[in-house]
């Protein structure tokens, strides 16, 4: 039988559905009878879901793209210069 400390160690695996079947069942059984661990799991789940809502748009402006492409052009020209 898993204790509460074990549950906190397996909480992420449980939420990510990565635990083996029997371990998952043991966690579920513990959660049926332990309100503190239920709270812990719910809080961890809420934390992970809140993070998912912070997703940032990583697209960049045309100006930034131009700047990088120009930097690369210059770098290319320097690489192509014959060594003296």
């Amino acid at each position: 039988m898993l204790n509460c400390k074990d549950i906190t160690k397996k909480a992420n695996g449980y939420l990510d559905k990565e635990l083996p079947y029997f371990t998952r069942l043991q966690v579920k059984l513990h959660l049926l009878v332990c309100v503190h661990c239920q709270r812990y799991i719910n809080q961890l789940r809420a934390t992970i879901r809140a993070l998912g809502k912070l997703k940032k748009d990583t697209s960049v402006s045309g100006q930034v793209i131009d700047d990088i492409v120009n930097t690369l052009k210059h770098a290319r020209q320097n690489l192509d210069k014959p060594e003296k």
Binding site: K5, H36, L44, L51, G52, T58, I65, V69, A75
Partner: protein, 206 residues
């Protein structure tokens, strides 16, 4: 990432090797944003742009030797990751996976449990307990942002890519050249620290 219309690596790589500007524009447009994001997570806001730019030049130089053991995207992201890590090393800050794994590993302080492993100091009741309510409070959002910034660089980067940006765990492992089990250890520690930070904030509101 805006790379849905990006040609395949087979098409792109020869064009990049020929210095085709359109091809460069396509890859920069598809990957630069994510590179900045990774650079920022590892090395911080101040030098993220510089790191990404340095990484592009490294990509340009190394491309003729690219052996295609991974996709172009993974290879480019690995270069930005290594560039950011090397910048941090210059500042003597911890970035190796070994150091990150050796950092204190307890998800929760052992003093919160009794000798039988049951809670002696159980989790407090949160006033805000849904993801939306957690983010509705500006102060709580600031608390989450601060907790993210205070995480060790690799933990911060992995939790940001996985839980915030929704990146595939397999790709994260390839970029950071870590095993899936090590990546998970870092992810789990990061999440637990973030939960603890929210918990502390909510307890202080009582």
């Amino acid at each position: 990432m805006s790379h849905r219309n990006l040609p395949s690596d087979d098409e792109l790589i020869p064009k990049l090797l020929e210095n085709d500007e359109t091809a460069y524009r396509q890859v920069v447009s598809a990957y630069h944003g994510m590179m900045i994001y990774i650079a920022r997570s590892i090395a911080g806001d101040a030098i993220a742009d510089e790191v990404a730019q340095e990484a592009w030049v490294a990509v340009l130089k190394a491309l003729p030797n690219f052996e295609r053991r991974s996709s172009l995207k993974t290879w480019i992201m690995r270069i930005v990751c290594n560039t950011a890590k090397s910048r941090l090393r210059h500042e003597s800050r911890t970035v190796s996976i070994e150091d990150s794994l050796n950092e204190s590993g307890d998800m929760i302080s052992p003093t919160r449990f009794d000798e039988r492993g049951h809670w002696s100091s159980p989790p407090s009741i949160w006033h805000a307990e849904t993801p939306d309510s957690l983010l509705a409070s500006t102060e709580l959002q600031t608390c989450i942002d601060r907790a993210l910034k205070e995480l060790p660089p690799l933990q911060r980067t992995i939790v940001s890519l996985r839980d915030i940006q929704g990146m595939d765990m397999e790709l994260i492992c390839k970029i950071f050249e870590v095993s899936e089990s090590n990546a998970r250890v870092l992810l789990h520690r990061a999440r637990s620290r973030l939960r603890e930070a929210i918990d502390k904030y909510q307890r202080n509101q009582d």
